[in-house]
């Protein structure tokens, strides 16, 4: 199976879980951001070259369902994936704890970035104290989901990326 097909499967799994299970299953009223998780982990494993592209597509899929204009999540995820890919390349050595910490921080950043860009394009009420709470919970939950998501992304990228 080629990498694009595997990635498509990951996108599909993420969006289905997001639209079904995590409509009801929420922690403190906040759902994990699975597409953001895909983008961040892609940034970590695929680096700053391919990671943003994978993140962009993940954001685009999520944008189709979000009330904000198409492209807000896509550009946010691409930027965060690029940042994670660049950081990982320059500073980090593979370790589970680092991966979980990076995913948590970067996922929280996607929430803040999404809200800021959303406000920039005219959506009201995205940037407030609630945004900080949501970003904190998303960071924690996405970090907790990393042990499940990371092997899947490794599996998807294994054909195209030798790490």
């Amino acid at each position: 199976m080629s990498t694009p097909v595997k990635l498509a499967a990951i996108y599909l799994i993420a969006i289905i879980f997001q639209l079904t299970v995590f409509i009801d299953v929420r922690l403190a009223g906040v759902a994990p951001e699975l597409l953001a998780l895909v983008a961040v982990i892609a940034g970590f494993f695929a680096g700053p070259e391919r990671g943003p592209m994978i993140g962009f597509v993940a954001g685009l899929i999520w944008d189709v369902y979000l009330p904000t204009p198409l492209g807000v999540a896509a550009v946010t995820f691409a930027l965060v994936a690029f940042a994670v890919g660049s950081l990982e390349e320059g500073l980090f050595h593979d370790s589970r704890f680092q991966l979980v910490a990076v995913v948590g921080l970067a996922s929280a950043s996607t929430v803040v970035g999404y809200a800021l860009i959303g406000e920039l394009v005219g959506q009201r009420g995205l940037v407030d104290v609630e945004m900080l709470r949501v970003s904190l919970v998303v960071g924690v939950v996405n970090g907790a989901l990393t042990p499940v998501a990371a092997p899947m992304m490794r599996w998807a990228l294994v054909a195209g990326e030798a790490r």
Partner: protein
């Protein structure tokens, strides 16, 4: 050298992605038809899959909810809310009818559900993300005659407007969303204005455009608390749909206009069923200040004596 090249290449790619996103944003904000169709196609394509997956995963979701004994309570709550909404709507409709009759207006009764064809729909899900708590998805779409902009109501009044429409589902922007501007009429004073939900203040709606502060600061001219608020005839929705009732009327910061806080009659936080009024709406009213029109000088009748002297 190779690393520098790689970083340069990845930056170029990122710039391309950002430019692509800006293009998509611009096209989407301008409601570019093919882009809307493409999004609709993706949602319609995935809808059967998510529906099946939803059924498969529902025991897990129920189990999660059952931890808080939520399942039975939710069903009972939905029934009670529907009954309560109906009662609130009846009360407001009766009040609006009485006042309208007193003013000898023709439109004496609020019959928005009787005059307009409608479609009843079930709410299939609430928010999908973490920032769209003011959006619901219903199980009726374009194949049921639903179009973007149509009004969505319950017995207690306006719920919101249809936003995105797919073949079998549609999303509704709730009245609790501060981005949704509604043209309203105060039944008591017959004034019309524009208002929207107050961000961060659940259940409250503020009318902050179109109402003037009374001349000579005559407070007796202010709308009394409890005054019923309904959709205005000139709004994008059918007229006389209940919105709520006035709780506070106060002077705006500019000192010239009036700001009215309204308690919404509809609790949109936990809806089970809604009714879509099958009357085409119009596009969103912009939030920006209206562009002032040209200054029109009052027409003055010419003095006949002056005209005569000019002719003579």
């Amino acid at each position: 050298m190779a690393l520098a090249q790689r970083i340069g290449r990845s930056r170029h790619r990122l710039i391309l992605l950002v430019l692509t996103a800006i293009t998509l944003l611009t096209l989407d904000l301008r409601s570019f038809g093919p882009l809307d169709s493409a999004q609709r196609f993706v949602r319609d394509l995935l809808h059967p899959v998510t529906e099946v997956a939803g059924t498969v995963f529902s025991p897990f979701s129920d189990a999660w909810n059952a931890v808080f004994d939520y399942d039975d309570l939710e069903a009972q709550n939905a029934v009670l809310r529907d009954e309560l909404d109906a009662l609130r709507g009846d009360q407001i409709r009766a009040e609006a009818e009485r006042l309208a009759f007193q003013r000898l207006l023709d439109a004496t009764d609020i019959t928005y559900l009787e005059d307009v064809p409608f479609e009843t729909a079930t709410v299939v899900r609430g928010a999908v993300g973490n920032f769209d708590s003011d959006v619901i998805t219903i199980d009726k779409g374009s194949n049921s005659g639903i179009r973007s902009g149509m009004a969505v109501v319950t017995g207690a009044g306006l719920v919101g407007r249809v936003d995105r429409v797919d073949v079998t589902t549609a999303t509704v922007q709730l009245i609790s969303d501060s981005n949704l501007v509604v043209g309203v009429r105060l039944v008591d004073t017959d004034e019309v204005g524009l208002g929207q939900a107050e961000p961060g203040r659940e259940g409250l709606f503020k009318i902050d455009q179109g109402l003037d502060w009374p001349e000579d600061d005559d407070l007796s001219l202010l709308p009394a608390p409890g005054t019923v608020v309904v959709t205005a005839a000139a709004s994008r929705y059918p007229a006389e749909i209940p919105i709520g009732w006035v709780t506070v009327a106060e002077q705006a910061v500019d000192g010239l206009s009036l700001e009215v806080t309204v308690q919404l009659s509809n609790d949109v936080s936990d809806l089970g069923f809604v009714t879509v009024l099958l009357a085409e709406g119009i596009d969103q009213v912009p939030l920006e200040e209206p562009v002032p029109g040209p200054i029109v000088t009052p027409a003055v009748e010419p003095d006949p004596a002056e005209v005569e002297s000019e002719d003579g």
